[in-house]
Symmetry: C2
Amino acid sequence: VVAVTGGSASAAAVFTDNLVQAAPVRLSRDHLAATGSGDGSGLASGVIVTSGCANAATGAAGDSDQLAVAQRLADRLGRPAEEMLVASTGLIGTRLPVAAVGGAVATLVPDGLAATDEAFAAVATAIMTTDSRSKIASLDVTLDGADGSRPGVRIAGLGKGVGMIHPRMATLIGIVLTDARVAPAALGSMLRDAVADTYNQISVDGDTSTNDTVFLLASGAADAPEIVPGTPAADTFQAGLAAVCRSLARQHAADGEGASTLITCRVTGAADRVDARAVARAVVSSSLFKAAVHGRDPNWGRIVMAAGNGRRPDGTQVRLEVDRLSVRVAGTEVFHGEPVPFDAAPVARAMDAAEVVIELDLGVGDGVGEAWGCDLTEAYVIENSAYST
Amino acid sequence: VVAVTGGSASAAAVFTDNLVQAAPVRLSRDHLAATGSGDGSGLASGVIVTSGCANAATGAAGDSDQLAVAQRLADRLGRPAEEMLVASTGLIGTRLPVAAVGGAVATLVPDGLAATDEAFAAVATAIMTTDSRSKIASLDVTLDGADGSRPGVRIAGLGKGVGMIHPRMATLIGIVLTDARVAPAALGSMLRDAVADTYNQISVDGDTSTNDTVFLLASGAADAPEIVPGTPAADTFQAGLAAVCRSLARQHAADGEGASTLITCRVTGAADRVDARAVARAVVSSSLFKAAVHGRDPNWGRIVMAAGNGRRPDGTQVRLEVDRLSVRVAGTEVFHGEPVPFDAAPVARAMDAAEVVIELDLGVGDGVGEAWGCDLTEAYVIENSAYST
């Protein structure tokens, strides 16, 4: 449970674009529509995340279960139900244990609420399912005020999710909080921008979940002037928000189910940012390349193959000319229009690391982009061959 | 090597749409353009397939290597080089051993050529790389002639490829031969139709190769009347061609790297065929569902999740309403708008088979489609962690 003290906060969300949307996604969407102007942002005073049950594909019963949970939190916080945001992850197709969740809410609110770093960390730990470690990122940002003041605000995020993760709107569950003051609509725009470069650029297994949700709540508690789009303060805040989202996104990819290595792909020289993102995503999403990284095998042919499968979100081809393409694996150039002779042994040794960086220069423009994934291991298969049974 | 005796045959091809196209793909495309009217069909009198080296991402040297191989075959057959089609599969980024291939051609042509079933089977075996078994399908078709005659023609195909396989134009290497007489342009149209429902509906690992090629050659040797589009004979031939391609496509999916189970997904009740194909493909492409099949786990939540990720080739959403959706696993209904209670043990036992059939009815139209994939196993990861080294 995350509760906003002293009223409601500006709230924005990005949800999965899976056509099968879980009950918590539908309810949060409805609540933001009720408290906002219909653009995915609104007001919130409480967030409750349940894990172990996704409450997806559960029919009308799942919807009423989810509403009951939100109502229980609203009652305890003494705020309207529409100001409650909900998220759930876990097994698809099982019912939420409403009574148990309600009992937990009664225990936690208000007596268990605390405004400490430890409490924040406890939330990050409590929502873990197959995660092997909790995921937190925070940043203090100093804004340039229009009046010459330099107020400070904090941006802090947490998240869970290491499987059924593939970019396309949001992935997994993330909650980012800030004490800055931002109007709901501006907050929504800032969140969508940040998500496009971060959460939407990670892939663990190519499967987009039914429950993916990223919330951003701005309480205004720092008592700094409102951040208005188009001002230097907004640019600074946007950069800070992107940094927090990027850190969280990398943590999710690095902790991918069964994974031992974070794969980072940086693309430069693309026709535009959309192309760059698409190619980077294609590389970190390739099963064959992910398996090669697991084997510490500098098999760059699979990188070139994956890059050639890059497609923009509208299905059109990216601009890629293989005779201009350059590929570096862990710092060593291996391809530049044609194969570049290299000594495989030291490259394989450099790949035996917690993070392997792949760099592609497309040589056709100045678009840049990044994406993150993880190696494909026997452990992923074993973990996912026996999950529901 | 496949050689056409007594002149040239009508030829059509479908190639990968990976932006990185291997040298053999480029050369075959050029040759069909030179002998045809630019629509991917033309004339051919010889096909040479080399395995072990993909000749992809090899720069200008790779192009001249491939041309040298085609020229060598042309010389031996005494036909123009433009009538030679070429295909290669294997490791990306290494050079073709032109001298060795040339030597083999000298041995095989003309003395090693034979018009027997055994020779056909020998080609299917010779082109295998990571395939565990050869892939052949053939069918005798009786056509209704316009003049009341009922000529018979044969359609026979072979193929290789069990990894780096994912639908989007063609996948893998397939060669389909027929002694029917069909003009090149009509042949091209028939091949594209057949591929859309068969080869393009299989996935092993989500990676579209740089080398995928399906050739269809019609020699006219049966001395049957020419098959003209729009006639009953054309419909019969099209159905026979689709049946041969479907059989081959299923063989590829069933033999997917590391796989133990063929996954067939049948979709009915979709808004149209494009939607039906997209949803079926999404289900057989889901890493998480493929792992569940490996574990004989009737985890239908992953089927619903995967279906919700179905997208048409232009990136737009399919029409899917979860409250109308019905899902059957190995014959048992497990979801119909909401979870359907079922006994998991017998379903898990039914999944312990060489083929598992998943049926989805979307309940919104009359579009139908099929797709084929395979389970994701530890063996896939092991095989692909140590391929080039």
